[in-house]
Symmetry: C2
Subunit: 431 residues, 2 copies
């Protein structure tokens, strides 16, 4: 089947899925959970094939670890599905209701976006999380996972397809793409696909943007900052920076650059260096930093680099303004934290830093859908429109305006024989 | 000054503008209104230059009419500004608040998108509406108007710039582009511009999408439908179709195709033809239509055509399903109306038609920001993400996650010495 036919089928199914009730969608989620457990041996067997092939192909150890999908991981994704079942159905909520005139009522009602194309990396759990989020939010989905996980992804997609068709979800709401060439075909399907969510490097996201008319929600790199203000508590600052940098280095919400106010730098930097040395973090710094602690020089390139490693760049700044300016210039709009005892400075930082997540006195590592209480997430958006930060169910929704009249025509208002009332109601859409 | 420098300046200003208070923004809006009135003679003089040149260049009469910006129009835009002042400030609203753990509080707070690039057509009132909407919503803006209106746009932009700088709005928040080449440069500024809103033809919107990485919110054509169900009231149906087609033909929310249920077609079509004949509407129809009323045949192309004229294509359908299928295949996702006495059929139509505006028993012409009670509008979006339907202030906003802690680190939760509470609060962001 061509990608165009596949996309058309998903589009057709998505229209029906959008109208599916909460009970049906939850029943389908329960059936997915049941079937995943029932067929766990098949899943583990497919995953072992992927692992064996990837080992032969010398895939790096951390990636092999992410690829592994054993019984414990299956239990985890089933737990995730059970939490998702408990979440309120986000579709069909009335966001706004206005009486335009007597008998003419306007409602803004949430609905699914339609068809979402998602390209994700090696972890097979992502397939289950993403597709169940799409199901609960009523969206059709075209998925492309990492080729390392192809056998695992295939069996998972098959189980999800069977489990949902069994209970009466419109068939074809989910399709798995198999090759990179399929992805390139998918990018042309602006007639059928409403949103692309590419999870991967900045470069990859830019490639997608350059090669598609379909809107792209960016799940890109994170160049996150901590800023230690002159009014910071030093112990707290060290604790937060160490956590932000080292709690898990290979993730987008780990801190890559530390900014320090010049008045506190002589006190905080030596202590901080000791703490980071003990975690084997390599430091590079600006010339002011180098006057205080012995570190290699940071280049302009360092401020733009996401290390994803035990490495931190350090810059001494003259004031809060300079810190904000640095973050807005070099950051990626992901997550930035200020450590200060000043409420005013925290307020200014949180207002002026142009990032999706702005923190006061806590670690940048908190920027995550699970920690935010959203349940599963599709990813973290650094886009400026539609959805920002960790994206859960809400980010997969949009709304429709629904207007109910009783023969109302515009000519009556143009001739001014009638006029608009625009009364706010507080009413659910009645149909 | 290069477009890149201009875009950079607007970006810088937008960061400050995002933090501007309600009082300051309203003061600036008042000052714009005052200065527009004070300098109305200059505006009218510039507009006369545009009119004279455009007449010499043989601009069509309806376009000349749209270009004209006289004292009455100035009073209208000032009225619009005064309504905008009365609207609540949409920035800084807390949409969600969650206690993640003791002392660790998450807020989702509305903020401006940042910098918006808007390309609009000949009406100079659009410049004032768009820029004041951007100001109230805290967005920087790059504007490009129709070249017919260049002198009028220039003086209007100058007045808005002066009026806002006078009261202390960050300078450079608004810039006017002058040439088509400037627009092409603007499309490359994905580093500084967060959203492009092109108002114009479908072709034009597609050109923009093909030539920019910047997200595009489509303000495209409207292929709107009325569907007369078998259970319709015939008088109401005729009244609504005549209004939807003829109340103002040159606009995107005018109906272009009529769908009629086969069981009611023999009764409704002859009457409807008489009503539309009296308005000089040309009809084309499918073969079933031609069996009932004498009209020229409609081609496949007709179903895809936005006439923007006194012309209507007519198709007889077997049932509601076929009507919905036709609309989802040939429509542009703009506005579609069902005329029926059946609540169940209305509910199905409003749920399954994949358009931004779905109506029951009223004219498609109601799909408009003013009629919806939104005050001014940037345009009508047929995009599936971010904002749909008439776009007012809300569509120019996004949100930030703001997290307040007291030294909280993720390691405590990873080691399970602490655990998340995720309690819903109902609290405004306190800073």
């Amino acid at each position: 089947m061509s990608i165009s036919e596949m996309a058309f089928q998903v589009k057709e199914a998505s229209i029906r899925l959008a109208a599916a009730g909460t009970e049906l969608k939850n029943k389908a989620l329960e059936n997915i959970a049941r079937l995943l457990m029932e067929r766990k041996d098949e899943i583990i067997k497919a995953n072992n094939e992927d692992l064996q092939r990837s080992r032969e192909e010398k895939l790096a150890e951390p990636l092999l670890k992410r690829l592994k999908f054993d019984e414990a991981k299956i239990v985890d994704v089933i737990d995730g599905i059970n939490s998702l079942i408990k979440l309120e159905d986000p579709v069909g909520k009335t966001l706004l209701s206005t009486e335009l005139d007597e008998g003419l009522e306007l409602y803004r009602v949430t609905c699914p976006i339609g068809v979402v194309g998602i390209i994700f990396e090696s972890r097979p759990d992502a397939l289950v999380q993403i597709s169940t989020l799409c199901l609960k939010s009523g969206n059709g989905v075209l998925l492309k996972g990492g080729s390392e996980a192809r056998e695992t992804n295939k069996i998972l997609a098959q189980i999800i397809t069977e489990a949902t068709e069994e209970v009466g979800i419109p068939p074809n709401w989910i399709k798995l793409l198999e090759t990179r060439a399929d992805v390139n075909e998918m990018l042309k399907m602006d007639k059928y696909i409403d949103l692309i969510i590419p999870r991967g490097s900045n470069e990859f996201v830019r490639y997608i943007m350059d090669n598609s008319r379909i809107p792209v929600m960016g799940h890109a790199d994170g160049i996150c900052h901590c800023y230690i203000d002159e009014d910071a508590d030093i112990d707290m600052a060290i604790r937060i920076v160490v956590d932000s940098k080292t709690q898990y280095v290979a993730v987008c919400n780990a801190t890559e650059t530390l900014l320090v106010h010049k008045n506190i730098a002589p006190k905080v930097l030596p202590e901080l260096k000791r703490a980071l040395d003990s975690k084997n973090v390599e430091l590079v710094g600006c010339s002011e930093t180098q006057k205080i602690i012995p570190v290699a020089p940071a280049t302009e390139e360092d401020w733009r680099t996401e290390y994803l490693d035990y490495k931190l760049s350090v810059k001494v700044v003259g004031d809060l303004e300079e810190a904000i300016e640095h973050i807005n210039t070099y950051g990626s709009g992901h997550t930035d934290s200020i450590i200060t005892n000043s409420k005013e400075k925290a307020a200014a930082f949180m207002s002026l830093v142009d990032s999706g997540n702005v923190f006061w006195n806590c670690s940048t590592r908190f920027s995550d859908g699970f920690r935010y209480g959203f349940g599963a997430e599709v990813g973290i958006s650094t886009s400026k429109i539609h959805a920002r930060g960790p994206v859960g169910l809400d980010g997969l929704l949009i709304y429709k305006y629904k207007l109910i009249g009783n023969g109302h025509i515009v000519e009556d208002y143009a001739k001014r024989t009638k006029s608009f009332k625009h009364n706010k109601m507080n009413k659910q859409f009645p149909l």
